[in-house]
């Protein structure tokens, strides 16, 4: 039992912190999100140079074959600077899916270019009625010669505007809600019939709605087994959950720091407001929530690469529930303790709060995951998270 990071992990963290301290101050971030693309290819290139984009990729394709602990290190660092570049959609979801499910040809074609930052992927899965129920997919893929034709509408595709290639889930069989029959396809975003409406999200990230109208893809666009895509999507979302939990740790650590500093300097009634016991206890509660969230995030990171799908499902549900609850409390109280200044666009705290709020709403909110955990519990004893 140890909670230590490896030498390489510590070096990676330090390199990221150096990069972001230099190139991602709050003012620079403002410029980036105000740009047309809403993110910086330059930062992306620098992340590639650090090896941060390739850390989880197979060694055969230029990666470092890292683990979810490596992802945790990266995401926590990105969270501390509320980095808007599409790391989760492109690397965790997109590249992760290709790494786990791709054929040799697909991996050889895509992953080295992912590692170098030239190829951006995104997972186009959610639809208007999906909410957080992954099986509720209505987009259709019908066979067409040796290939397929795709029709459907995908909503709020994270990083969908930046992506070069979409991983589109579509039914080759079954009806919305059924677990079997979902297949994944690699779709070039410039293919005929693909229309994207790209927009900002409240946290200054970007997402897109994607309409697929008679989009033709070749047979080798199929990613993973025909009809067996749902478990792949589920595992990708679990990896995404572990990643955003780690990101939330970084965001929350900064919020606690910002708030503690603020109450030490802000004076009311002649004293720093940090001398008021109610605010002291509020901050103590924030800190405790962060520590509990940290513990669950560590547990998720050490579980999410497991081949035991039932275990992954339970632990990521538990982690997202707890981190979501912590995120809600820490975010709201950070604003409350900042007072008026906390609800201004000018103050960094409001941007950390917004990112934290949207992390809470991404991949299922706390209530959803608590219910999911509860329902899984009804079906059998919780497997021990550890031996």
């Amino acid at each position: 039992m140890n909670f230590d990071f490896s030498e390489e992990q510590n070096q990676l963290r330090e390199a990221l912190v150096r990069l972001l301290d230099r190139g991602y101050e709050f003012a620079r971030r403002k410029q980036i999100v105000a740009s047309d693309a809403g993110w910086s290819r330059d930062i992306w290139r620098q992340l590639a140079e650090l090896g941060a984009l390739a850390i989880r990729l197979p060694e055969a394709h230029g990666g470092a074959a890292g683990t979810a602990i490596d992802t945790l290190v990266v995401m926590e660092a990105l969270g501390r600077r509320i980095v808007v570049e599409p790391y989760v959609p492109a690397i965790i979801l997109g590249a992760g899916l290709v790494s786990r499910a791709g054929s040799d040809a697909q991996r050889t074609r895509l992953l080295p270019r992912v590692a170098s930052g030239e190829q951006l992927l995104a997972l186009a899965h959610d639809e208007a009625d999906t909410r957080y129920e992954l099986a509720r997919i209505a987009t259709r893929a019908r066979p067409d010669g040796t290939g397929y034709v795709l029709d459907g509408q995908k909503t709020v595709v994270l990083g969908g505007g930046a992506a070069d290639t979409l991983i589109v889930s579509a039914r080759t069989a079954g009806e919305p809600g059924e677990p079997i029959g979902v297949s994944l396809f690699l779709v070039d975003t410039h293919a005929a019939g693909v229309r994207r409406h790209s927009y900002a999200t409240h946290d200054d990230h970007r997402a897109a709605d994607v309409t697929l109208t008679g989009v033709k893809v070749a047979g080798d666009a199929l990613l993973g087994p025909a009809g067996g895509g749902l478990p792949l999507v589920e595992h990708a979302i679990e990896q995404g959950i572990a990643a955003v939990c780690a990101e939330a740790l970084g965001v929350m650590a900064i919020l606690v720091d910002l708030t503690a500093s603020y109450v030490k300097t802000r004076k009311q009634f002649g004293v720093p407001i940090g001398q008021f016991q109610v605010l002291q206890h509020r901050l103590a509660d924030m800190l405790m929530r962060v520590e509990q969230a940290r513990s669950m995030t560590y547990l998720a990171a050490t579980t999410v690469d497991s081949s035991d799908a039932a275990l992954r499902r339970r632990i990521t549900a538990a982690a997202k529930a707890m981190v979501g609850q912590a995120a809600r409390f820490v975010g709201q109280q950070a604003i409350q303790l900042h007072g008026g200044i906390g609800v201004t666009d000018e103050a960094p705290v409001s941007h950390y709060f917004k990112r934290l709020t949207l992390i809470g709403m991404t991949f299922g909110d706390a209530d959803h995951h608590l219910a999911r955990y509860s329902d899984l519990m009804a079906r059998g004893p919780t497997p021990a998270p550890r031996a």
Binding site: R136, V343, F353
Partner: protein, 398 residues
């Protein structure tokens, strides 16, 4: 004990409702219910319609041209307006400066300002908060130096709602810098068109710009525009703060939002069925509905005290705390009901008549921003921490 409204009160409600059905323009109603941006003309237009009926100043006594409604009638009016989707009446003129003028203003000030507040000719804003003050209002620093018949004002106010639209601002200023805290403060009425007044918008976290900083640089204010006596402004401000807090429960608006939550939960689907059929989500609605039901009765209890001319004291703090927390719960529930569709930020679609591309249904557009913005509800008008201090001190003797 009888919690039902009297026949007279029910008739009054019907009258208000009938008036709103006939006179509230449909496009305005749609804007309000759709959560669209409201401009100056929207507020002023509605104010003028009410003025024609004699209802633009629901809290004013007949002596000053108001309808002379009692506390319950005012509550019924507010509730019906909120339910119908009328724009809220801006409180700064009719509810804030007007009561101060009625109580402490000179006859000349009353004659000059009150009719113009009533008619909507003058739009007012409030100059209390300063950077560095906040909950500790008495630490304000804006200076007003007497030179002959004018005060020369220098300083800065902040969190000034709708200052960009305002004709006048009422300010607390320091007229005697040698005296500390509550002493040495005066209450001035300042024309926003005076040379030296600058308004700078503060963009809030939802991208909106409803609050402002107001800068004063050698702004000359006639001594006639001082309300009451010099250095006694704190007395008037305290009087006004009491008024500000009483109506903060916001029961009418909460009831409209609760309906909205239910409508959204009926439209959104989860697991192939309406979200409201998910017992877990519905339980959250049930919880806040019960809290709101209790708050409404608590509010009525305070109104009943007012009817008997018992000044509501710290009870108003309870209404503020509970009301703001319920508002925040409701805005959060709306956001959670949206699921992934809560993410898109589409401010352009908040302008009425927007026809561009849209992610998700149009009614969903204002929801996340409203949640983010309403974190302020537990901060402004005396933070909920300050309110709890008041309750502990005045109701529990701590």
């Amino acid at each position: 004990m009888d919690l039902s409204y009297t026949a007279d009160e029910q008739r009054f409600r019907a009258e208000v409702r009938g008036f709103l059905q006939t006179n509230l323009p449909q496009d305005l109603r749609d804007k309000v219910l759709g959560g669209k941006h409201l401009g100056r003309e929207d507020f002023v237009g509605w104010h003028r319609i009410l003025h024609q009926r004699g209802w633009s100043t629901p809290n004013w006594p007949k002596d000053f041209g108001g309808p002379g409604w009692n506390a319950v009638e005012q509550h019924i009016f507010d509730e019906e307006c909120a339910d119908a989707g009328a724009p809220p009446l801006m409180p700064f003129g009719i509810r804030m400066v007007a009561p101060v003028l009625m109580a402490f203003g000179s006859r000349a000030q009353q004659d000059r300002f009150l009719p113009r507040i009533r008619s909507g000719e003058h739009w007012w804003c409030q100059g209390y908060s300063e950077p560095g003050s906040g909950s500790d209002l008495a630490s304000l620093r804006m200076r007003a130096e007497r030179r002959d018949d004018v005060y020369v004002c220098n300083g800065q106010k902040t969190w000034t709602t709708a200052a960009q639209h305002a004709d006048w601002i009422f300010c607390l200023v320091r007229t005697d810098p040698t005296r500390r805290q509550q002493q040495g403060i005066s209450f001035l009425l300042i024309d926003m068109k005076s040379p030296g007044v600058t308004v700078r918008p503060i963009v809030t976290l939802d991208g909106d710009a409803e609050v402002n900083e107001v800068w004063f640089e050698d702004v000359e204010v006639p001594v006639d525009n001082r309300v009451g006596e010099e250095n006694q402004g704190w007395t008037y401000a305290k009087y006004l703060l009491g008024h500000e807090r009483t109506g903060n429960a916001g029961v009418g608006m909460c009831k409209r939002w609760l309906k909205a939550v239910k409508r959204i939960a009926a439209e959104q689907r989860a697991g192939g069925r309406p979200l409201i059929e998910d017992a877990r989500f519905r339980d959250r609605i049930a919880q806040v509905e019960i809290e709101l039901m209790a708050l409404e009765v608590t509010h009525m209890r305070v109104l009943a005290m007012e009817l008997k001319k018992q000044a509501p004291g710290p009870e108003a703090s309870i209404l503020k705390v509970q009301g703001s927390e319920i508002q925040q719960t409701l805005t959060e529930l709306m956001m959670h009901a949206l699921g992934p569709q809560a993410l898109p930020f589409q401010p352009a679609a908040l302008d009425a008549g927007y026809t561009g591309a849209l992610s998700g249904p149009e009614w969903a557009v204002p929801i996340t921003g409203r949640y983010l913005n309403h974190r302020k509800a537990s901060i402004y008008a005396g933070s909920n921490e300050i309110q709890r201090n008041i309750i502990a001190k005045h109701m529990l003797g701590l």
